[in-house]
Amino acid sequence: MAILEVTNLKVYFPIKAGIFNRTVDYVRAVDGVSFVLEEGKTYGLVGESGSGKTTTGRAIIGLEKVTEGKIVFQGKDITKKRARTRELNRNMQMIFQDPYSSLNPKKRVLDIVAEPLRNYEHLSKKQEKMRVQELLELVGLSPESILKYPHEFSGGQRQRIGIARAIALKPKLIIADEPVSALDVSVQAQVLNFMKDIQKELGLTYLFISHDLGIVKHMCDEIAIMYKGRHVEQGTKEDIFERPQHIYTKRLVAAIPEINPRHREKQFQFRKEVEKEYDAAYDDYFNKDGLAYQLQKISDTHLVALPEKG
């Protein structure tokens, strides 16, 4: 069952100029994006910085105003801010990118993790404390740390506090905005595996925003590649990594580092080839503004942005 349906989502930011501060143009951060999230799956949103992936996530959770399009969550249209009932908001939570600024430095861990509980569930002080301790244990932190402040934790621990806060209300959908990009590699695996574990345990759906293809390959069932606010390719993990159709995706996949040093030379040649192909075929895959075309279906799961003539 589809838990989230995004249709032709557009988020434009006005550029103001002149003495009257009139809107002269727009930054088209998200420019017509459509996708469907199935319950219990992990959907990856990949793209270079500035491609609009974070803005997409923020628009879905309501931190960014939607210019056009439609967002349907659990069968309800939540495009308009007013249509977001408390109950719907409760079922959608977010894990933030930067574990250093996403926790209020003046609050204790107890107050941070209990914030959603205080808003939605009216628990006694004792119950609340117990729930917070359970949550901390779930994310692998010692329950004694409830009285500490965020700065007393490492980056990975802080991110896990952020995750504990996001899952406190047992949401259905979690938007994970580059949840590990601020962490060092040894901690990344720890946090990612943990996210996978709680996904099974709580039946979560993830919208996983990342620029790291390796991580996306590890985490996601379905993947969309974003470029300049548009999707260039969309499909299952296998579609994207084994049968990339769009030249941009090919180039991206070719850029994944090869661990085996014996293949280094081969990989280098392969990348050069892809680069050449990219330069040669650029005009075929992008329109005159350098934007991707509309998505065309090439199989049941696989969509690629190709010009109309195919």
């Binding site: 977010m94 996403s102 209020n104 430095p105 914030e115 808003n119 009285l147 700065h151 007393e152 806060r165």
Partner: protein, 302 residues
């Protein structure tokens, strides 16, 4: 990851473990000897002024005594008497108390309103910010001194409180502007966004999440404002638009110096008040400057 339990328990009771803004402020004051002396001086002055003024009878002091006009300092009158035969020392004590009370009241009232105004404007941004800032601009272009003088003339009988209220109504703009600019920065941080997605209401985010994070700026600005407000009150009283002679303040004492005879020959009437204003303002300012430095890590001495 596992901290041992003893440590955890210790940290709970040890406030040094938090990045407490208050502690940084305190450290900076201790490091800056001038500020520390100023702070001690302020505490001593306010304690003594408030305790002595409890013993003194204001009505007795402001009573005109024609048999003791303009007496120089003596054993009976430590700082002599003024042209109405009133004890200058008593007036100085009560005047200092009144001036400080007004300064504090004005700072608190304008501070609370200004902070709330600035936080709301900065947090919501957009049209609300625009509208609120235009209101602020309007207040800012009003001629402050003239309006206070007019209000003081209109209000028939004013007390410390009503005077402070009038005063505060025209002095909240600076702090509001400052807090707004800080709030504009602060609201872009992710912990504010996180609170929004967690379903916390706007007032709660503004006053419980955002305000504690700019508390040091609030404390610093209010301290510096206090020094200003003491000065402005004295100035108004000096011009005769503060309190009447029956309610002494440092400014009214100072205004006796407008009489050339007093200025030249009876220093004991105005000099102590002048010194008191100067020293009070300097001391508050020194403390404020130390606090201001503490909020900027690059300027810290401690």
């Amino acid at each position: 990851m596992e901290m041992n339990n003893i440590n955890v328990v210790d940290q709970v009771h040890d406030p040094t473990k938090s990045p407490s803004g208050l502690r940084i402020l305190w450290k900076e004051i201790v490091r800056d000897k001038l500020a520390l002396v100023s702070l001690i001086f302020l505490i001593v002055i306010s304690l003594s002024v408030f305790t002595i003024s409890l013993v003194l009878d204001q009505d007795e002091i402001v009573k005109v005594d024609l048999f003791a006009i303009n007496e120089p300092p003596s054993e009976e009158f430590i700082l002599g008497t003024d042209y109405g035969g009133r004890d200058v020392f008593g007036q100085l004590i009560i005047g200092t108390r009144n001036t400080m009370l007004i300064g504090i009241a004005v700072t608190l009232m304008s501070g609370i309103f200004g902070v709330a105004f600035g936080l709301i404007a900065g947090y919501f941004g957009g049209h609300i910010d625009n509208a609120l800032m235009r209101v602020l601009d309007f207040f800012q272009i009003l001629p402050f001194t003239m309006l206070v003088i007019v209000f003081v003339a209109i209000v028939p009988k004013y007390t410390i409180f009503s005077f402070a209220l009038i005063f505060a109504a025209f002095s909240w703009m600076g702090i509001a502007r400052l807090i707004r600019s800080k709030a504009l920065q602060e609201k872009e941080l992710e912990y504010i966004k996180a609170s929004q997605t967690l379903g916390t209401s706007h007032p709660k985010i503004i006053f419980r999440e955002m305000m504690p994070n700019i508390s040091s700026l609030i404390i610093v600005t209010m301290t510096l404002n206090l020094a200003n407000n003491i000065g402005i009150e004295s100035g108004l009283s000096f011009l005769g638009f503060g309190f009447p002679e029956t309610t002494p303040s440092l400014g009214t004492l100072l205004s006796y110096a407008m009489n050339p005879q007093t200025l030249e020959h009876r220093w004991w009437i105005w000099a102590p008040a002048a010194v008191m204003i100067l020293v009070l303002m300097l001391a508050v300012r020194n403390v404020g400057e130390a606090l201001r430095r503490a909020t900027d890590a690059r300027q810290r001495r401690g």
